[in-house]
């Protein structure tokens, strides 16, 4: 059904269609409206047989998810930014126990300085936690990918994080096609846990494991992740068969065919990037754009295929590691090692700075001069002044 609604409520409705049994929540901007909408649906009875838990913290929220999922209930939560870091210990724990929890991250910068706006720092802070990490590009995908996320999580026994850009998507009112319950039921069978806490068949979960087996356990997680690289495209097809839409998958190429320069990015910024690519292609430039819809597991082969024939790949990302530079860039370099393709690093949109068409044009214009990483739209004057001022102090300390 076509509806005009904000991204958060759209996700809330989509999650409700998946019939979660336990939703645990703790508010943080810009994720808040998602759990609020679910709370309303549970209270009104529209979402039946669901417990809505108002927790005392994000750490508690993820912990309650661990309990409810381990006890065999389909479980959901959402968070952002500081909330993600506050729950980080439990985030690792959930994946280590193979619990198919689905969590939405309304992506937001992590402070300090305190900043509520969008970038991908929160998702990157738990990059290595063993969760499947999917990124969506618009609100329609937010809906579709959440429905796939539950099936993916439950078929692999791994938690799945759906990343949607805070404000840009969570707060955007756009027209979306909300699936019918009957369609979702056809796609998503009831939750059948691999193992659960059951007095009739007691198991010990979360036990202590020493050096003799810990590595093997980690490798098991890795093997499951590798399986996800096959399961994700297969489920994308199954989804398309029922819903008639291409949503999800590993990577998405804007234009078929090869190009000299390919922009690789994640999340909503691809929308703007595609417009610039269209514009520049009309002017005869050999460029293309590829979006990483799955970030963990990293879709190495799919990416290689998507950028095949390129001379240069430019990674545009909203994440940054001080002392190094781009984070996704490193993944792409590793994935394209040996292909001879030059990989460049561009960082933009940190802490909610808009990534405009103009700045993406400068990104393409700078391709021939770029060495090291470049930060788009940086206020060089302010930065240089502060660096000089600080140096004077720091030099004295050395």
């Amino acid at each position: 059904m076509l509806k005009q609604m904000d991204g958060s409520y759209a996700v809330g409705e989509a999650v409700a269609l998946c019939r979660p049994q336990v939703v645990s929540c703790y508010p943080i901007t810009p994720q808040t409206h998602i759990v609020e909408s679910l709370g309303k649906l549970v209270k009104s009875g529209e979402l039946a047989d669901c417990s809505f838990m108002n927790m005392e913290s994000e750490f508690g929220a993820m912990s309650a998810c661990i309990g409810s999922s381990a006890a065999g209930s389909r479980t959901y939560t959402a968070t952002s930014s500081q909330g993600m870091l506050f729950m980080a210990e439990a985030v690792y724990n959930a994946s280590g126990m193979g619990l198919p929890i689905v969590m939405t991250v309304g992506n937001r910068a992590v402070g300090s300085p305190l900043n509520i706006w969008n970038d991908h720092s929160d998702a990157m802070s738990v990059r290595d936690a063993g969760w499947i990490q999917l990124f969506v590009e618009n609100n329609q995908q937010s809906i579709d990918v959440h429905i796939q996320a539950f099936r993916l999580a439950e078929s692999l026994g791994l938690p799945v994080m759906v990343n949607m850009d805070g404000f840009i998507l969570t707060h955007a009112y756009v027209r979306v096609d909300m699936p019918e319950q009957e369609q979702v039921d056809r796609f998503l069978p009831p939750f059948q846990p691999f193992q659960k806490l059951d007095p009739q068949d007691p198991v010990t979960m979360g036990a202590l494991v020493g050096p003799e087996a810990f590595t093997e356990v980690r490798m098991l997680a890795h093997k499951r992740m590798e399986r996800a690289l096959e399961v994700i495209p297969a489920q994308m097809e199954a989804f398309a068969n029922i819903f008639g839409r291409d949503s999800g998958g590993l990577v998405k190429k804007h234009y078929e065919g090869e190009a000299d320069t390919v922009l690789v990015t994640m999340g909503s910024v691809i929308g703007t990037a595609k417009e610039v690519v269209n514009e520049l292609r009309d002017q005869g430039e050999s460029i293309n754009a590829v979006t990483l819809r799955t970030y963990r597991p990293f879709p190495t082969e799919a990416l290689k295929e998507a950028v095949n024939g390129a001379k240069r790949v430019v990674v545009l990302e909203k994440s940054f590691t001080p002392g190094m530079g781009g984070i996704v860039y490193q993944d792409v370099v590793a994935a394209l090692a040996g292909t001879g393709i030059e990989v460049q690093s561009v960082i933009a949109g940190l802490g909610g700075r808009p990534v405009t068409r103009k700045s993406i044009r400068t990104l393409f214009a700078g391709c021939d001069q770029r060495t090291g990483f470049e930060v788009l739209d940086l206020d060089h004057a302010t930065l240089d002044r502060e660096v000089t001022r600080e140096s004077a102090v720091l030099d004295r300390i050395i």
């Binding site: 913290s57 508690g60 912990s63 006890a71 007691p202 979360g206 202590l208």
Partner: protein, 344 residues
């Protein structure tokens, strides 16, 4: 020790841990079978072969508590454990000593994980399945305090059992918020002007639990296992958030002889340092009187963690501990008969 998947109930042909003698624990002055531990078909929730130290009060407390809960619920029980000695000694890879569905997640989140399980059971309409969360005093009263308070405030249908051995034993005996004044721990060494742990205002988590107005709060002591059993049984007859704090000496951390765990625990009770009471909806409803009062000296003497208290110049520490015991005796009216209050 059993493999990972265990089935309940398991019948034991032999009565284990049967006590004899006049100051014995489980079956003292009673017919065999009066205490659950005296029965041949007791659940034996925590199997033998785990790796607790000899004389571990926590292992003893947990077995009594969980056995009773299993019995009270006909085996329909799920147990969540915080990180700590109890978790580490009971589940070394690839074994598990637990004969009940059991999950360990983290150090500070047992109450929240148990809340999730309780809600999960409710939504699956398995109201007969009951949930217990358990942990040491560190996992419960320090790092887990936020989750515990949340669990109380939401009145989740969970019994939380804290095994209080008054320090972080699993990481090598460091101070917790339950460590008493003067006590030696790895982080409160008996050196300097004020040896051992400082005398703070203290933290009574049972009282904090009571302040939440939850249906049931109790303190118990492993020196009186039948009282512990009765409290767990009562707790399992009630729905909503419940809290029991069990006093469990730790031979390793306290520097006591393994064979003295029960004796030390009883001395703690007799001197008034660990008042035993029950409370419902925030009001104290029952108090266990002290039958044979003793000064704190007798209790402290047998523990290496208090050795410095008996050194010249530290008399004030001994007095301070006695004052705490006296205040408890007064506040909870612990003496059976004021005449018996004459200390020997």
């Amino acid at each position: 020790m059993q493999s990972q998947i265990l089935h309940f109930p398991a019948k034991e042909a032999v009565i284990k841990h049967q006590q004899t003698g006049d100051l014995t624990i489980s079956n003292r002055l009673s017919e065999v079978g009066d205490s659950l531990q005296g029965k041949t078909d007791r659940p034996n929730s925590l199997d033998s072969g785990h790796r607790a130290c000899q004389g571990c009060g926590e292992a003893l407390g947990a077995r009594h508590a969980i056995d009773t809960a299993l019995d009270a619920t006909d085996g329909e029980l799920i147990v969540v454990n915080a990180t700590g000695c109890l978790e580490v000694f009971s589940t070394p890879y690839p074994e598990s000593a637990w004969r009940t569905p059991w999950l360990h997640s983290l150090f500070g989140n047992a109450a929240a994980v148990a809340s999730g399980i309780a809600q999960s059971m409710k939504i699956q309409r398995k109201d007969n399945v009951r949930v217990i969360a358990q942990g040491g005093d560190g996992g419960t009263t320090d790092i887990g305090m936020g989750c515990l308070s949340g669990m109380f405030e939401r009145n989740e249908d969970v019994l939380y059992i804290c095994y209080n051995n008054e320090a972080y034993m699993n990481t090598g005996v460091q101070r917790s918020s339950q460590t008493p004044g003067a006590a030696r721990t790895a982080t409160t060494m008996p050196v300097g002007e004020h040896p051992g742990n400082h005398f703070g205002i203290g933290k009574s988590v049972p009282k904090i639990a009571m302040a939440h107005g939850i249906p049931y709060v109790a303190t118990a002591n492993i020196c009186n296992p039948r009282d512990l059993e009765a409290k767990v049984r009562k707790a399992m007859s009630i729905r909503g958030a419940r809290y029991i704090e069990v006093f469990v000496p730790c031979p390793l951390g306290w520097g006591t002889a393994s064979c003295d765990t029960i004796k030390v625990a009883r001395q703690a009770h007799n001197c008034g340092l660990t008042p035993l009471y029950e409370a419902e909806y925030g009001q104290v409803t029952a108090v266990s009187k002290i039958a044979c009062p003793e000064p704190v000296k007798a209790y402290l003497k047998s523990q290496r963690r208090f050795a410095h208290v008996f050194k010249k110049g530290n008399e004030h520490q001994l007095e301070a501990i006695q004052a705490i015991a006296d205040a408890n005796i007064k506040a909870f009216d612990l003496l059976e008969n004021p005449l018996q209050g004459e200390r020997v």
